[in-house]
Amino acid sequence: MKPSAFEYASPATLEEAVSLLHAGNGNAKIISGGQSLMPMMAFRLAVPEFLVDLKHIPDLNIIRIADDGVHLGARVRWCDIAGDARLLTAHPLLAEAITHVAHYQIRNRGTVGGSLAHADPSAEMPGVALTCDALLTIIGSSGTRIEKASAFFTGPLQTTLEADEILTELHLPAWPTARRWAFKEFARRKGDFAMAGVALFYDLDGNGRAENAHIGAIGVSDCPIRLGAAEAALNGNVVDDNTIAAVAAAARAEIDPPSDIHAPAAYRRALVGTLLARGLTQSAG
């Protein structure tokens, strides 16, 4: 199907973009890479009357690596992340997770900001943002706010973004070089959305025990989620076979995944345990 009619503008500044959204009174939408919005409009699941393109707004496509971590502009594309070798050390979890996002041609247009704002429960970027305690910079007609990723995602395709707000930057806190981590997911075809996926990291204390465990999952709930019981089962323990089994069991017990045409709930639950065990084994190696 084709999208319904709308007007289109490509403003040169953020301020202009915000005021266009504001004037749109709930019927205006941003278009960034268009890789989620265009299909939504073709299916008429989204029928915006006005599209505001971020294309000509400067500096939103910058990847900045600083002492306090990695700053990704909202218009940074998947291919930009894949092409930036600095990220392999500055944020290896991000670099790895992004290799699972979409296909070659889509990666040339899909963006970080679009993915976060779209908030697909199976998408990798929201899962990484949540697991890593990321901060989001959001600009709207009432000013700028910084929101924690943990508060941002409120449901499937739902966030705290107001109709006249623009996400401008994702900040992933600094990554210690000795940190242990893994990202694992399973999809039928490489580049397709995952049936389930896990992101994890932890640090080791002086006795080789895990501390500061962060474990997140995608594709098992309305939003990306943190697996608190699994984290508790990991903290304070040496990452050996017993711990790995306990963490996987805790994760399976604490999730309540959906059943859909892609997989029944029981399959997703087992999958999360398996992916987590593989990830932990890899991280310990």
């Binding site: 199907m1 009619a5 709308f6 278009i31 299909p39 599209l51 291919c79 296909h103 070659y104 580049g191």
Partner: protein, 158 residues
């Protein structure tokens, strides 16, 4: 809206609605029907064209977003004879009905231009974004692998 962009090396101007996709604009306004539409929501890859040298889904881009860009369709990859990549598709029987072929050719062209030494794993990974319902992919991969030598020569010259 009036838009202007470079299409296969020549400047073209046309008038489109804001909602017109780049794929529809290329086919309906500009007669470049080599750009095929399969799914129209980004899954099949048949509509792949090059925008500023990068392979993108023409069904997931608005024509107005291409204003000022350089667009290349499958028609732009050869003039009189088949391009080496196209000839390799013929040699390896990498097409049957040919519906998916423009998307495979434009995608593989973008890949090999940037990475003439792409290995089989990389080629499989990239081409996994395109669907073919006829050939079973193996001949397509063989055709792309075989065409790498032409791109390596080009890259050396450049």
């Amino acid at each position: 809206m009036q838009i202007e962009f470079e299409l296969n090396g020549a400047t073209v101007g046309t008038s489109v609605e804001a909602r017109t996709s780049l794929a529809d604009c290329l086919r309906d306004n500009l007669g470049k029907t080599g750009t095929h539409l399969g799914c129209e929501h980004g899954v099949c890859g048949a509509c792949t064209v090059l925008v500023n040298g990068e392979a993108v889904r023409a069904c997931l881009m608005l024509a107005v977003q291409a204003n000022g860009d350089k667009v290349v369709t499958v028609e732009g990859l050869s003039s009189d004879n088949l391009s080496p990549l196209q000839a390799s598709f013929r040699k390896h029987h990498a097409l049957q009905c040919g519906f998916c072929t423009p998307g495979f050719i434009t995608t593989a062209h973008a890949l090999l231009t940037a990475e003439p030494d792409a290995d089989e794993e990389r080629i499989r990974d990239v081409l996994s974004g395109n669907l073919c319902r006829c050939t079973g992919y193996v001949p397509i991969i063989e055709a792309v692998l075989d065409a790498r030598k032409f791109y390596a020569v080009q890259k050396e010259k450049a």
